[in-house]
Subunit: 180 residues, 2 copies
């Protein structure tokens, strides 16, 4: 038995669902559009016994995403290409800010408010998160066959976004602007 997926990339493509070995060529995975981003899930909690998920996020230069927290989800940013500015509010309420370029890394432990702003077109970021959160993006947005950015952006309704937030433990802090 091999781990080939003939339809890798289609809207109905799903990862193996349990700890099986597999490969994905660049660009393949569970793709979704959310706002101006293409998010591709490469690995989920189902393959890692809940430990971690892995995804890539591709986005054009844009505005800062709304500040948010996820109480039980740790998350990394590893910049593959382009530039993204990351803000994190630490446990003492101090604001950390860093412009990340290729090869730079940022870590947001669970519970800390954070945001980021993509500052160059063709920016790509690799994310790793506590298992389960990787599918937030598809829940908040929409699964897609497309390998490109959403044009126009895919803007969910407030209700849809809130429901996805509740399901995945993502709390938006619309009251807290970190990019000011």
């Amino acid at each position: 038995m091999t781990a080939e997926f003939a339809k890798a990339g289609a809207e109905d493509f799903t990862l193996p669902g349990r700890p099986l070995p597999f490969f994905l060529p660049a660009g393949e995975g569970e793709r979704a559009h959310l706002f101006d981003s293409l998010v591709t899930v490469l690995l989920s909690k189902d393959e890692t016994e809940g430990q971690f998920g892995v995804f890539t996020l591709a986005a054009p230069r844009g505005e800062a995403i709304p500040t948010h927290t996820h109480a039980d989800v740790h998350e990394i940013f590893f910049v593959l290409g382009g530039r993204a500015r990351v803000w994190i509010q630490d446990a003492e309420g101090e604001r950390l800010e860093r412009l990340l370029g290729p090869g730079d890394f940022g870590y947001v432990p669970a519970g800390l408010p954070h945001s980021f702003r993509v500052e160059a077109d063709d920016t790509r970021i690799l994310g790793v998160c506590t298992g389960g959160f990787e599918r937030f993006f598809a829940a908040a947005g929409t699964r897609t066959d497309s390998r490109g950015l959403p044009r126009p952006p895919h803007v969910p309704s407030a209700e849809h976004l809130a429901a996805a937030g509740r399901e995945f433990g993502n709390e938006f802090r619309f009251d807290l602007r970190l990019d000011g």
Copy 2:
């Protein structure tokens, strides 16, 4: 309080040791030399409540590393640059093989024998693993200030390698050649 580390990269540099926010510029982290590779740990179990660790591996074109298994450690390969051929023996004893280039991904769930061979100079791979395994490379090899590849390669004694293997649950399968 910020998360700056003035001596980031020195042999005695260590990650925060608990879930704190921080940034690392490209190339910084806990660096080690093992055989012909430079391994840089960006995140460890100590920052992620044991969930996962993150590291980069840089290596020149070379021979396949010895086949090995880690019974309780899941591991990904995400190629940042260059090329690496990955072999995995699945639960049915079938051999999966793939040449991975930039942006390609491979997943090795816990317990499966695997190996890889770097097939281009300047290859860089990002790894994510079940929390704890990220420090195997420094234990088997040696911490370093260097930002380059080990020249000559850092070859541990058999005893040192075996001790690190025992400590981190890494079992070498010198009897099983997957690259043949």
